[in-house]
């Protein structure tokens, strides 16, 4: 690149930013110059926020969600049903479920899905921790809420096989047609799954 014409600190920032997902070298240099151009207040606030992110957050020792207080506010909330555990792949999935305002149990974040081709195996996910949590005996139902992808399905099938002998109730999120969708334009796999998981009325 044209790095020789730029101060080292700008190059350093640009290169760091372009390591982020979805940000290429062009966007990175645009962001760097935006921060540079008289917005020192914004740049410092960003620096503080990043520092706080690294120094203050950690994983909850019960559910492995990202938190500042351990255990996290959800695991310590007496209004929530601690006997119902919803298993998700990522913290963002947990947030999506929270937005519904309809789920009052607690969570367990795996931090990924099984994907042997990308080198993600059972020992790389928080599965041992989930099993230990259930063995402690205070869980009645486990809701498998991994993504409806081929990796998510594989992970759910593996979890089912591993948790079944522990004698807890295991359920899987319903799957089927999206709201506002149209049968005519639904793909064959979605329709097939919707048929399989149809409900008695």
């Amino acid at each position: 690149m044209y790095t020789a014409a730029l101060p080292a600190s700008v190059v350093e920032l640009t290169e760091t930013l372009s390591a982020l997902p979805g940000i290429g070298p062009k966007t990175a240099s645009r962001l760097a110059f935006f921060l540079l151009r008289g917005k020192s207040e914004l740049a410092l606030r960003l620096a503080e926020a990043l520092k706080g992110l690294v120094e203050r957050t950690r994983f909850c020792s019960i559910c492995y969600n990202v938190t500042e207080a351990d255990p996290c506010p959800i695991c310590t909330n007496p209004a929530r049903n601690q006997r119902m555990v919803c298993v998700v792949e990522e913290p963002l999935d947990l947030l999506a479920l929270e937005r519904t305002d309809q789920y009052h149990g607690v969570y367990h974040v795996l931090h990924g899905a099984l994907s042997p081709m990308e080198g993600v195996f059972a020992e790389d996910l928080r599965i041992n921790e989930l099993e230990a949590r259930i063995r402690r005996g205070d869980v009645e139902e486990v809701i498998l809420a991994t993504n409806p992808t081929s990796e998510g399905d594989y992970t759910a099938a593996y979890l089912l096989q591993r948790l079944k002998p522990l004698g807890v109730r295991i359920t899987r999120l319903g799957r089927g047609l999206p709201m506002g969708g149209d049968l005519e334009y639904a793909d064959a796999v979605t329709l097939m799954r919707a048929l399989e998981s149809r409900q008695e009325l």
Binding site: G24, P25, S115, P116, M117, G119, A122, E123, Y154, A157
Partner: protein, 401 residues
Amino acid sequence: MHIRSLSLRQFRTYNRLELDLPASPVLLLGANAQGKTSLLEAIAYLAVGRSPLTNTDQHLIHWRAVESAMPFAHLKTEVIHRNHADLIEIALEQKTLANGGTRLEKQIKLNQHTIRQMDLAGHLNVVVFLPEDVELVSGAPSGRRRFLDDLLSQVYPAYVESLGEYQTALSRRNALLRHLRDFGGDAAQLAPLEETLVQTGVTLSLYRRRVVKALAFYADRLHHDLTGGAAWLQIQYQPNFDPLRPPAVDYQIGLLPETESESPVDLDTLYEAYRKTLHAQRRIEIDRGMTLTGPHRDELRFISDGVDMGTFGSRGQQRTVVLALRLAELRWLEQETRESPVLLLDEVLAELDRARRTYLLNLLGNVEQTILCTTDVEMFPESFREKTLLLEVAEGIIRRK
């Protein structure tokens, strides 16, 4: 079905081509390296979204276009069915990335709507016969599996679905086997993948068994006629895992296995037998780092008068076998789809003697549309040429003769 029009932009040797075709035989004449085979390739590409000649789509873009600022190729065809018409388009565009590399974008459209490659199935069915097809008989087993996969994929979307799931689960299981060998871990992670292999693998195996049985039936007769009544042909499907018969079908050449029992077996029994086999093999397969059982190791053999043609057939015998197989493919597609597929023949006559040539040309009378390539028009009798559209191909330009 037949192709009414074909339009190519920057495809192989064709800079620009607009061609209208009749529902009758079409004969492409021209010296070597003028674009005859590329035209057949274009039609086959529009049918399945994959070239019979290369796995690298980049090679399909005109060589001069590749050096231009925005290399692309565009193919379009109108296909006439009994009661409707389909417009199929494929666009290839080579994009240059920020890091200097390139990426090929491929867009497939059916009647102006973008579709997935697998949804092309059934809108244009073709049977292609190329000189190098003799490899099907003499070459590696993977070519024969691809032959079965391509044929079944043209007709059954469910087959495409199962094949995709099978291949994903297989790659995952192999990656996991290697990981377990090198680093250890919970072997129970294999079970869900094995379940997918079992369910989809049995589906693949049953489809293959069915299509081979039908192909064998047609090819036997065709081969008999092509050889002037001299030799019958047996096509044998040898599934790597055959739940109908216990494995270990290691027969010697010339010693044919006894006729198959066709007693119906219920699916759950098949699944269970397959599941047990995979489970029993785990230890060996972890050592080897790969899955040794399943349809990805199926075999197809061609046997004429007790002799395995793949190993012991002469070049000429192998050609006759492939021709019988391609014509059987045509019959099967007609039977399954109730429509005549488009037949694409590249330089086949040159390889046949007069009697076989006449037999083949007579057969073409029943096909809605056949497109043939030749360097020598004299090989075709006057009576055939009269019913045929003759086109001259020279340096990527096509003229009516």
